[in-house]
Symmetry: C2
Subunit: 124 residues, 2 copies
DNA sequence: CGTTTTGTTCTACGCTTCGTAGAAGAACGT
DNA sequence: ACGTTCTTCTACGAAGCGTAGAACAAAACG
């Protein structure tokens, strides 16, 4: 999976944070909102450019039916994260060893979460 | 953590695949060996350049004591992988949901490995 | 319909990263 | 001191990304 630049990531964050498909202008506004005072507002064309790139990279899809095209994330944020974790793991030559390291460094709470998730897996 | 380019990654692979610290020339030879017929041999200075960059990025350290400086990975490959997995997870807003997705998509064998690892965690 | 407004694509530029390696400099053996 | 070996400095071209104007298309409106 290709990686994301800063603005690309911000756009994905916005798309991920609500399930509805958004237009370029809505995205621009959401970005401006999100960054509050701190960040400048970015031009709509800029948003459109990154949306095209995100589409080319397979991160978003768009509906061309009505005129303000509407854009939405192809994967949910969690799916995306899980995918990335697999990708990282796939690059390792010894997956089990890497998993061991990973498990060895999660917090207690997360270890418990993992246990619970694995139990649920078995149960169905 | 910064990301790695193709050659940078190859260099790290070599460093990870043996625990000894290597000189630039040994690395160049190992790379040439590894890529066999397929790939051209890269110049020693090229290796040195990427080693400097890897050092700046915190991936390798070098001993300057003796003349062919010797380079070694700062993290083991597994530590690196685990670190990346945490990094990916940290970018998610809902870690538990992301973990759930991840666990839901691992193979049966890996689920078993995870269970075993978590059991070992508890036991000590 | 022609015009104004709104939305999209095309093109482009500057910055940064990375592969690539020569030129120049430093250190070491003899 | 001299050549050899190693490292650093400098540089360049390609690609990725933030950035956005210019040009083009479509819709709204009078």
């Amino acid at each position: 999976m290709a990686s994301l630049g800063d603005l690309e990531r911000s756009v994905m964050e916005v798309l991920w944070s609500g399930d509805a498909a958004l237009s370029a202008n809505e995205l621009r506004d959401a970005l401006a909102m999100r960054d509050g005072e701190s960040g400048r507002t970015v031009a709509t064309t800029t948003v459109l450019t990154v949306l095209s790139r995100l589409e080319r990279k397979g991160f978003v899809s768009r509906t061309r039916e009505h005129r303000p095209h509407r854009y939405q994330a192809l994967l949910s944020r969690e799916e995306h994260t899980a995918e990335l974790m697999h990708e990282v793991l796939d690059r390792s030559s010894d997956r089990d060893a890497a998993l061991a390291r990973f498990v060895g460094t999660v917090s207690d709470g997360e270890a418990a979460t993992l246990r619970r998730l694995l139990d649920e897996l078995v149960r169905r």
